[in-house]
Symmetry: C2
Subunit: 436 residues, 2 copies
């Protein structure tokens, strides 16, 4: 028996639809089956309407092919505006809010033939107060955040593709905790218009998929780079082994032994498979990036959320109020110094990468923590986010390691700012070779 459609990749589904071998409606019904089976447990969606999804899929069957994503359902994080669907930003303040227009990324998806299958749970205003979503691998564990629902939806096969956002580690961390691929682009490659702002320097739109090829496929549409779609397949077919280095940063002590073991094993196995080794030394000046990213995020988020803090404080969680108050107490001087450190490290990026095309580094301290009261720690994502490095987290093959309780581990493939194309090629090669 053939695999159910909802277990296929976005690229496979797009091919079936284009070839007329599956209709958008058949594809949609398969995902709806998966949703009906597990959504009660997983709670990935803030909004989902099966009838509307089927109607959208039917309409796409009747119209001319719009673009490469024609007929594909996409799950969209609820801090991203959709004009025809309520957008609550994960906040009591915005329950039932109907934005005036789609976000630019949503319009680009629709223009390429996709439709919005559902809105996924965001933590409160994409900060740290969790929603109800659970980790599909173990319902007692957090899926991570802030893009909790998008990560869980792709992991649970509710959608082939989901959009999320990241300010510190809100794509990479939940993707790693849920055992899927997560992509955070170089700054501004995917347009942010219509995304509820937190930290203007740091916020980015990112993607959740189950393969690197799917991430490159969707990114090619969203970033307007058609050539990216073919990079993963090319890298594997032509055996383009990258030069890799691996580094646990100066915060090595914060990583679980299982993570450090997996990182070491992954590096060694990839060398056996033909990758070139790049010796990596973490430059001392980069140590400050952890605190600097946090300072920038706090300062800017406190200002971006000033309207909510000033007018509607009674509808904010006490955790978010405390975070905004912490941000308001950050001095402008510290903020400027943090921004300057970020720029200085970007200018010195070669002192870190040296001969490496990409680096491997922990996506999180370990696997998804137990409990739903915290979405975990974005510590290991902070420096890369401030640097503006593109990154993709890959689920570590079981033969290289697992977290406690058999939960997934994620390792991030990081490239220099602007090197998204190189990153996709390297990540696809790694994905194809590190399983053993």
């Amino acid at each position: 028996m053939r695999e159910p459609l909802h277990r296929l990749s976005a690229v496979q589904l797009a091919q079936l639809i284009t070839a007329g071998e599956a209709s958008p409606e058949t594809v949609t019904r398969s995902f709806i089956d998966a949703i009906h089976e597990r959504e009660r447990d997983v709670q990935a969606f803030a909004w989902f309407d099966a009838d509307r999804a089927i109607a959208a899929a039917r309409e796409l069957h009747l119209v001319a092919r719009r673009g490469p994503l024609h007929g594909l359902p996409v799950a969209v994080k609820d801090n991203i505006d959709t004009a025809d669907i309520a957008t609550s930003y994960g906040s009591a303040i915005y329950v039932g809010h109907r934005p005036n227009a789609d976000a630019a990324c949503v319009a680009a998806l629709k223009d390429a033939g996709a439709y919005v299958l559902g809105k996924t749970v965001s933590t409160e205003l994409a900060n740290f107060t969790p929603g109800p979503t659970r980790n599909p691998h173990n319902l007692a564990h957090t899926p991570g955040g802030s893009s909790s629902g998008s990560a869980a939806a792709v992991a649970a096969h509710f959608a082939p593709l989901a959009i999320g956002t990241q300010t510190a580690g809100s794509v990479i961390r939940p993707a790693a905790f849920c055992g899927v691929v997560g992509y955070k682009p170089s700054p501004r490659l995917i347009p942010r218009s219509g995304v509820k702002p937190n930290s203007d320097t740091l916020d980015e739109v990112g993607l959740f998929t189950r393969t690197v090829e799917d991430a490159a496929f969707a990114a090619s549409v969203l970033a307007g780079k058609p050539a990216w779609k073919d990079l993963p397949a090319q890298a594997v077919r032509m055996n383009k082994a990258p030069a890799i280095g691996w580094v646990a940063t100066s915060q090595r002590a914060a990583a679980a032994p299982s993570m450090l073991d997996a990182l070491e094993r992954a590096g060694l196995r990839l060398l056996q498979k033909g990758a070139r080794r790049a010796e990596i030394v973490w430059p001392r000046v980069f140590d400050g990036l952890f605190d600097a990213q946090k300072t920038v995020q706090l300062f800017e988020t406190a200002r971006a959320l000033a309207p909510e803090f000033i007018y509607r404080r009674e509808q904010l969680s006490s955790r978010l109020i405390a975070l905004i108050e912490e941000g308001r107490a950050v001095s402008a001087h510290d903020y400027v110094l943090s921004m300057q450190l970020g720029r200085a490290c970007v200018a010195a990026i070669d002192s870190l990468f040296a001969e490496a095309d990409v680096l491997l580094t922990p996506s999180a301290p370990g696997g998804a923590p137990v409990g739903l009261s915290s979405t975990g720690d974005p510590l290991f994502n902070r420096p890369w986010q401030l640097l503006g490095c593109p990154m993709v987290t890959l689920p570590v093959p079981a033969s290289l390691g697992q977290a406690e309780g058999g939960l997934p581990l994620g390792i991030t493939v990081v490239a220099r700012p602007g090197d998204d194309a190189k990153m996709f090629g390297a990540a696809a090669w790694i994905e194809a070779h590190w399983a053993g």
Copy 2:
């Protein structure tokens, strides 16, 4: 007889209100008088309601002092969200649109005690299709754009202070054309949340005032930097003469003779007054910034306005449609190269500034062009915007030069990225000394 209140600076008005020597209502009524006298000709406002303004002023008289701007009316460009006032973004698509929340900068103004006097005319979606606003100095001339109404409102004494936005030259150019002070901060110093996005890399919130001191005063609130408020007065009192250079860039040929003469005379006069001279050579690699800024703006604007272009094209002007189509045709490769050039020049900023604290450079090719069909050319603003330099345009004293027909000329004081404080001090010293 004392000057009417609407001719006083924001700092003076704030002092009068704090001292109880003028009520917010008296202040407001003076501005309303000016508006009633000339708004029919100038057409600075997209929305204005005298009764509501008086009610807001009265309410502020009855409550405890909220902050440094208590009781001051502020004019806000109509591409900036106000929850209680329709926000049309200068577009037929958004007529009557009511945003869900105030923009962060509006919330910060209100938190400091100011109120929104009116929404000012923006060009269509803050691009190049003009609204009805006329230049208060000569109604047959453009006020510039895209912050057309904010510049004209301050020039016509309709408000002591206005907010606008700039992607290429949308603050500096209209301020120069209207003979007022315009300030564009270092990237992200004033929060952008709630401003309709165009180019995510380039968009900034800026200010229109009639003095450098007022600009620093309002910026101190909006950027959360209380110390800035005192920099202008200190620089003058302590006679902190800056090291200045002046440069017409590689586009010197595009500047009117009156502008080049004024720039030269301004530099020489400031040296006579005690400024230190910095020899400036425009580095050849910086020539590419003009095109690079345009490429970044086109590429990003086309993507940010994708929802309007895809769903509501019939409500866009043909000029904006052509601009978006031009942006959609920009290759991702050219975009990346343009971003890289920008970063490389930022890293090499000292090769331009050398010993200078600030540079003087044309705010526009000349004075405001005749006619209302174009808002003029942002050419001379493009490189600084991509570099992320803070800048303030000052109206050139008549003794240094005027444009054709006696219209104002503006010269921009530019500092290195992040040097807004140094810029305010230098600009205040220049303003105090260059009149003769």
